[in-house]
């Protein structure tokens, strides 16, 4: 039962003797094997939410817990996929994927089996001995996803994982992630500013307000998806044509537009 729970979470930053409230009274529960996407205007603190679940940052008020245990430090039970990949450039694809398994003390045969499985699943066969800089951005992010999934973590935390990719690669990766999520359902907290991406991938979408970040609205995507059987549609562009997809997308856009500061051009 992997549940991520935010309870009355505040985050205040101190800067030049002043206090900035980045997050205010965040209450959110990501259920077991649920895919929750957080969208919000830039600077709303959505990445901070993910980093607190990862244990890379800490709330100044309230608690973040995973499976009832308060998060205090980063660990392999909460695997992170970073926007900037953060692969180790001095290690090969294979060694990058193996790194966390070695921390967990997993035996050689089991390591090999798991690495081969995820390298195959992410379409990285033949690239095991390549170094990250020899791969395209999309391929590098596949390695990062394999590196996270191979740990068999309780929860996956993804911080705009496709934000650094070009539009076409991005679509391919979104389709792959949906495929992966169906084969290996996990509890996922996914941060993005791309509305279509959130509607396509998530079971629920959390829309945040601009600073100080609060939860503006939580939308249920899963029931619409099941009603219209999106899962049986192979291509993302066809899913995006479904009436409920269009409706949800427009709704999220309107919520986000309300959050835009006057004079904010993007």
């Amino acid at each position: 039962m992997a549940i991520i729970r935010f309870e009355h979470v505040d985050r205040v930053f101190h800067q030049n003797g002043q206090d900035f409230t980045a997050l205010k009274d965040i209450n959110l529960e990501v259920k077991d094997r649920e895919f929750v996407a957080i969208v919000g205007p830039s600077g709303c603190g959505k990445t901070t939410c993910m980093r607190m679940a990862a244990g890379l940052e800490h709330p100044t008020g309230g608690t973040v817990s995973v499976d009832g245990v308060v998060v205090r430090a980063p660990g392999p039970d909460r695997a992170v996929v970073f926007q900037q990949f953060a692969l180790f450039p001095w290690k090969t694809v294979w060694d990058n994927v193996e790194f966390g398994l070695l921390s967990l003390g997993i035996a050689e045969a089991e390591r090999r089996r798991r690495i081969e499985h995820y390298i195959g699943l992410m379409g990285l066969h033949g690239y095991e001995r390549a170094y990250p800089h020899q791969l395209s951005g999309g391929m590098q992010q596949r390695v990062a996803i394999a590196r996270a999934y191979v740990l068999d973590p309780k929860v996956l935390l993804m911080d705009e994982p496709f934000g650094a990719l070009d539009a076409q690669t991005r679509v391919v990766m979104q389709e792959e992630l949906v495929r992966l999520a169906r084969q290996h359902p996990r509890t996922v907290l996914f941060i993005t500013h791309a509305v279509e991406e959130a509607v396509y991938l998530a079971d629920r979408i959390v829309v945040m307000s601009r600073r100080p970040g609060t939860l503006r609205e939580i939308l249920d995507v899963k029931s619409a998806r099941q009603a219209e059987r999106w899962d049986e549609i192979e291509r993302i562009e066809d899913v995006m044509d479904q009436p409920s997809f269009v409706h949800l997308r427009t709704h999220v856009w309107k919520l986000l537009r309300e959050q835009q500061a006057p004079g904010d051009t993007h």
Partner: protein, 260 residues
Amino acid sequence: MLQPRLATNRWLQLSAVGAFGFLAVWTTAALSGLTSRDFLPTPWDVLQRFVHLAREPFSGATLGMHLLSSLQRFGMGFGLAALVGVPLGLLMARFRWLDRLVTPAFEAVRFVAPIAWVPFAALWFGTGIGGPVLIIFMGAFPPVLINTYRGARQVDLKYIEAAQMLGASHWRAMTQVMLPATVPSIVAGLRISAGLGWQSLVGAELIVASSGVGYLMVKGQAAISTATVMSGMLAIGVVGVIIDAALRRVQHTIETRRGL
């Protein structure tokens, strides 16, 4: 780029003109009769002396044997500097208290030039191996420590966070992430260290050794043989260039592998 780029053959031409110009001025001065050729031999005289020293023992050994003895001392001093400098630099970057503990003493000591350690080394070690090794160490140590420390401080936080997220222990984060992330800086530091160490070695041998290129030069000076002294200088220069080229090669290999 501050200097405009030159075509490779133009670049080679200019280098050749510079080298020949230097040799021409030297030869003209030596043959001009203004000084005795014993005091300023021609390049050809030096080369002949060099070949002679390579074949016949002088002050107990051939030039090759003197060089070997020098290289051993250099290897020990430089190796010790790397062995202490790299881990200390990494640990100082990791632990602020160690940084605060070491930095003041280090900053004071590093302004004492390697050659200024000669009297101290002579008092402590006499003519033993410890003296030259200490002096070479003092020359080679600062660059490797400073470069390792600065490199480690600048390691991108995302690698450290990735290592933590992947459950790495402090030891693994240090040896598998901090160290390799710092390697390009370390190698750059080692190159400077090797240069300074090799320069210090000769200073060390001028006074406290009983073999080596520096020792050969002192004996050449005593015999009023400028050609011997200059042969020693030539050997130092050539070996210095070889050491630097080897380390540059290592640096290049590492950078290529990482796509830098």
